[in-house]
């Protein structure tokens, strides 16, 4: 059974030969260590930021080589590509501005760009952007990176694509303070932003899924450690779950599974995510926030793919022996009957311990053979 077959069995709730292992992303600084190379590429998992096609190809070459070297079963195309001939805007202070008006700052630890601000100061700025400057999802070139990754992967690993949640992108594009203030003062403006991004994503999914994607994973958090970032009622009134369902339905038209990522304590949103949004799987399952994978497996394990749950905090701070125990426990709890992809509860962060990440994979291979006997 090859890696892709292993993943396909698991996401269809069957037991493959062994538990598939993957990561949503690995920071460039870690991939450099793993491959013993140095690369100068500016990119982000939150936004399309690579305007140089050669560098974009090089990034996906590195991803592919890293995932193969570690022995992972599923590779994600981490970001949508910019359209051909798109000119990335730069602020005088050197910060990049993405297509949604988000300003990005370089994080030297991960060697990636992180969204840290916005160009929007007033509601009028946002109205003008939504009316006249909103990006076109069908602009040619958005699948450039995916096409390259697909070509080099040749179905050795299962292929996934990371898109971003319209709510999370709006939260970032407006910044939390303006999002909350305008949600109170000008609700329709915030909703319009989310709705436009939903329509954008639906078109994008249609384009991407034509490349035989196995999984769409939707990044962007709905929750923080304590619970949902907005009350479930407010999420509903903004149409977040309905919007997600429309995106799920588009993915399903192409037989592509749809997994939602969120950090934090997701339990209060589980029913909405399953019954309204109709997602196929959940990623992160953040144990640091108190998510109990055993409880979720028991209640929803026959219809929800579980992806994650090895604590990124523990991976960064604990000893390898402790990671082995944690990984064994997650396999014992989540792997029986399939529906489980072993991974960290976020991604391999540049500031983490490479030794621990590799121990997690090694443990997965050693104890993840079906039938699970732990």
């Amino acid at each position: 059974m090859n890696s892709r077959e292993r993943v396909l069995k698991a996401i269809n709730f069957e037991e493959p030969d062994m538990v598939p292992i993957s990561e949503l992303s690995i920071d460039l600084s870690l991939m450099e260590k793993i491959l013993d190379i140095k690369k100068d590429i500016t990119y982000s998992s939150q936004s399309a930021l690579i305007s140089d096609r050669e560098k974009e190809r090089s990034l996906y070459d590195i991803y592919y080589k890293t995932y193969r070297k570690i022995g992972l079963d599923l590779i994600y195309c981490i970001s949508t590509s910019l359209p051909y001939d798109y000119e990335l805007k730069k602020l005088p202070n050197g910060q990049l501005v993405d297509e949604l008006g988000r300003t990005c700052t370089f994080d030297p630890t991960s060697k990636t760009q992180t969204v840290t601000g916005t160009v929007f100061n007033t509601e009028e700025d946002v109205e003008k952007f939504l009316e006249y400057e909103f990006p076109d999802p069908e602009a040619p070139g958005r699948d450039y990176g995916l096409r390259h990754l697909k070509k080099i992967n040749q179905e050795t690993m299962a292929l996934g694509f990371h898109i971003r949640e319209p709510f999370a992108q709006t939260w970032e594009a407006l910044t939390p303070v303006k999002f909350v203030y305008w949600m109170h003062k000008n609700f329709s403006l915030v909703k319009k932003f989310i709705d436009k991004l939903t329509d954008f994503n639906i078109q994008l999914i249609k384009i991407l899924c034509q490349h035989d994607l196995d999984i769409i994973i939707m990044g962007g958090d709905l929750c923080e450690a304590k619970g949902p970032m907005l009350s479930p009622d407010r999420f509903r009134s903004l149409g977040v779950f309905d919007a997600m369902r429309r995106q799920v339905e588009m993915a399903h038209r192409y037989n592509t599974k749809f997994i939602k990522h969120t950090d934090g304590f997701v339990d209060p949103l589980l029913e909405d995510l399953l019954d309204i949004a109709k997602i196929d799987g959940l990623h992160s399952l953040d144990p640091s926030a108190g998510v109990d994978i055993g409880k979720i497996k028991k209640n929803y394990g026959d219809r929800l793919i579980l992806h994650g749950n090895i604590s990124v905090d523990n991976l960064a701070t604990k000893r390898p022996e402790e990671i082995i125990e944690e990984t064994k426990n997650v396999i014992k709890t989540a792997s029986p009957n399939g529906g489980h992809i072993l991974s960290s509860s976020n991604s391999w962060y540049g500031g983490g311990k490479l030794e621990n990440y590799l121990v997690m994979v090694e443990t997965g291979r050693k104890y993840g053979k079906y039938p699970i006997t732990l």
């Binding site: 700052t105 994080d107 030297p108 630890t109 992180t114 840290t116 939390p176 303070v177 999002f179 909350v180 203030y181 949600m183 109170h184 003062k185 609700f187 923080e224 450690a225 304590k226 619970g227 949902p228 970032m229 907005l230 009350s231 407010r234 009134s237 209060p268 640091s288 990124v312 905090d313 960064a316 701070t317 962060y349 540049g350 500031g351 983490g352």
Partner: protein
């Protein structure tokens, strides 16, 4: 007495009754209620102006806000309120502070303490830090916010420059934890008086004890109480 109940469209909750009183006590209650119900920045500004115009003293207003914020904090703890509600309370608190500050200054009120605040090196996230800034400022602290990705050396330099009572650090990523540890150690070398308070997603009470930090704040609300205790001010009257 004038009475008027309208409804806030989005939150769908009754708007606080507007009461204009001669002794100011009811209007302070209105301010507090407005906070607890999170009726928004415009509404709190309106009530604050009314309170000030009717002769309510600035420090009484700050006390009402503190009481309102405490209630919001409890609701957050009980999962009745969410992160967006905390952000809203911060925005509202900031609006009131801007209106009240000039009057506090004209009354020669000194800040109750000085806090040096930043997100540690290796981390550029700032939601938590900004919330803490808002809350502390509202409660009468002078906050010097030196931003994100702040190295231990830069923290130390600013301790020497500003001589704060408290050094407050935040991080979202685990990568920031060793930097916090270094900064706590360095801060103690450059000042025997500064107290250290830490918080953020991966931070625990145990970690705070391990690195020798003086306090750990679970959230922005707890940071207010901790900061007050650190400067020996349990009330702001």
């Amino acid at each position: 007495m004038k009475s008027n109940i309208t409804y806030v469209r989005f939150f769908n909750i009754p708007k606080t009754k507007v009461t204009i009183m001669s002794n100011g006590s009811d209007i302070l209650e209105n301010v507090k209620e407005c906070f607890i119900k999170l009726e928004g920045p415009d509404r709190i500004k309106e009530l604050t102006m009314k309170a000030l115009d009717s002769g309510v003293e600035a420090n009484q207003l700050i006390k009402a806000i503190k009481e309102g914020l405490d209630e919001v904090g409890k609701k957050y703890e009980n999962s009745e309120y969410f992160l967006s509600d905390l952000v809203m309370s911060g925005v509202m608190a900031s609006e009131v502070t801007n209106l009240v500050k000039p009057r506090l200054q004209s009354a020669d009120s000194e800040p109750i303490g000085k806090v040096l605040l930043g997100t540690v090196k290796g981390d550029i996230h700032d939601i938590g830090k900004n919330l803490v800034n808002n809350m502390l400022t509202t409660q009468g602290f002078e906050v010097i916010d030196i931003g994100v990705d702040v190295s231990p050396e830069k923290f130390a330099e600013n301790i020497q420059k500003h001589k704060p009572d408290i050094l407050a650090m935040s991080c979202l990523l685990t990568a920031g934890m060793p930097e916090m540890s270094k900064t706590v150690q360095l801060s103690k070398k450059v000042s025997s008086e500064v107290k250290t308070m830490i918080g953020g997603r991966p931070i625990t009470k145990e970690f705070a004890a391990e690195i020798g930090a003086d306090a750990y704040g679970r959230d922005a609300f707890e940071s207010i109480d901790l900061a007050r205790k650190m400067v020996g001010s349990t009330t702001i009257e």
